[in-house]
């Protein structure tokens, strides 16, 4: 056999095994996290863990509800305000704006997407926290430190904004021009066309993008940890402090070996995050790839 064919074959083998190895990583991570959270799952039932709000690790009480609720609050606030902003911005970019606007906005999105989480945290502490404690919160409550779920939601929202905008822009630009023309030539205005045709047509894609952004937002750690107070309680309003899951892991890793079951509890928190993020990711990617294949 010729030498070049042999090298070709062996290269294929090497590449194939590298691909498989990296695939295996998903499985290994899942297995590792499950293995480490087994001890706590043997002691308490899954339902007990996620529905109890008693968090006293030293006494062996592990109720994850405050953290789950905290994560939901922060993520919810973030999505709630970024979804309209991202939608409107991307509609502006694809439907209404001139080329130079796009040229100016895309680098801005790049920068927003590239800035490290910790920088957002610094910005949150320097800008958003005082804004909330001095200006916004006094209108509703007597006193607030400014380290609240709302602060976390605002900062987190800005962090997922670039992802949402670029995915929306991709979706909208893939929508055939003829579809817009069909609506416009019936005498519809551009906004009517956007509202009734573009948004409707892209509904699955928008949904997938939102799911993807939620999964991204849930795992964000440092920035949220820096601004949302880290108080173990079930929050009752966005102006309360909260304690999302990733912050729990990051804040307590230092002592997790000194208290029994604590390490297992934290790994269980990581497992929850991993499972939720993975499921959300797969669902949205499958939808997005379906759409992509339909058009291209």
């Amino acid at each position: 056999m010729k030498l070049k064919l042999i090298t070709d074959k062996s290269a294929a083998g090497v590449m194939f095994s590298l691909t498989l190895l990296s695939l295996l990583l998903v499985v290994v991570i899942a297995a590792g996290l499950i293995f480490k959270s087994m001890p706590i799952l043997e002691e308490h039932s899954l339902w007990e863990l996620i529905s109890s709000s008693k968090w006293k690790p030293a006494r062996g009480e592990f109720g994850f509800l405050p953290f789950i609720v905290g994560t939901l609050w922060v993520t919810g606030i973030a999505i709630l305000w970024t979804l309209p902003v991202a939608l409107l911005t991307s509609i502006f970019l694809t439907e209404n704006s001139k080329r130079w606007v796009k040229k100016a906005v895309f680098p801005i999105l790049d920068i927003l997407a590239g800035l490290p989480s910790v920088i957002y945290g610094v910005w949150g502490i320097v800008v958003v926290v005082p804004w909330i404690s001095d200006w916004l919160a006094p209108m509703f409550v007597e006193f607030s430190t400014g380290y609240t779920l709302l602060t976390g939601g605002i900062v987190l929202g800005i962090m997922i904004l670039p992802l949402m905008v670029s995915l929306f822009v991709e979706l909208f630009s893939a929508t055939p021009m003829e579809m817009r023309e069909a609506s416009l030539s019936l005498g519809a205005t551009r906004w009517q066309t956007t509202k009734f045709v573009l948004l409707r047509k892209n509904f699955p894609g928008i949904l997938a993008t939102v799911i993807l952004s939620i999964s991204r937002a849930m795992g964000e750690t440092i920035a949220v940890l820096m601004v949302c107070g880290n108080i173990v309680q079930i929050p009752s309003s966005p102006l309360d402090g909260g304690y999302p899951l990733p912050a729990l892991i990051a804040n307590n890793y230092g002592e997790m070996l000194s208290i029994p079951m604590y390490d297992s509890a934290l790994m269980f928190a990581a497992l929850i995050l991993f499972v939720v993020v993975m499921v959300f990711n797969i669902v949205s990617r499958v939808i997005l790839r379906r759409i992509e294949n339909k058009y291209i």
Partner: protein, 271 residues
Amino acid sequence: MDDIKKGFFRPNQKFTTKVRERASIEVKDFNVSIGGNHILKDCSLTIPDKQITCIIGPSGCGKSTLLRSFNRLLDMTEDVKIKGQLLVDGEDIYASGVEITSVRRKMGLLSQRPCPLPMSIFDNIAYGCRIHGIRNKKKLRLVVEHYLKAAGLWDEVKDRLNTPAARMSIGQQQRLCLARGLAVEPQFILADEATSALDPISSKTIEDLFLKLKQDYSIVMVTHTLRQALRIADYVVFMYLGEIIEEGPAEQIFKNPQHELTKKYLSGAFS
């Protein structure tokens, strides 16, 4: 067909042009350049009312651009420069302050590939009416039925009006698009190679529909199948490299072309 023009569905008659005001499309020294390319050069012509006008010419000669400038879809492209006048019913549609939506509403567009909107068959037809403010369900049902009949589609789809339009065959989709265009009571029908993506039977159906519709509408179609123009055209415009070389009644152009290029094109020397 009669009740279409009576404004049966639109008592105030705001958009449909009154018969005595009804004129046609007049193009005067019209120039278009896109991104520095001069696409239409000093085009002047008049589209006759209630006839089928075919714009013919080799590909890339600016036929589609001319057609798209009639309902200002050209505005969608970036870097477009337009000079000259385009009068529809005596009104320059490129003048400032013109309501683009009402201009576009006067023209139903049929594109190369049928493009149903992402909704049910019923909603596709009703879309235009809803856009223009008709919400009455009973009225909408009448409109939908009427125009589906006008496009010869009613019997085929009357049992599945609520299924997505994208599930129809491609020929049915094109007739749906025609019906959708008719439902906003236009005066012109613009067809941009509307049969090129269809099978022979479907395109015959569309052609027959055009022959029927020309009693009430002016139909402008771009085509590069000469035989189609021979079959249905009343008036023919021949374009070459962005210029209008020759125009006139079909018989005259086909039987007795004046210009050398027209003769060559008609004899099939280039296409």
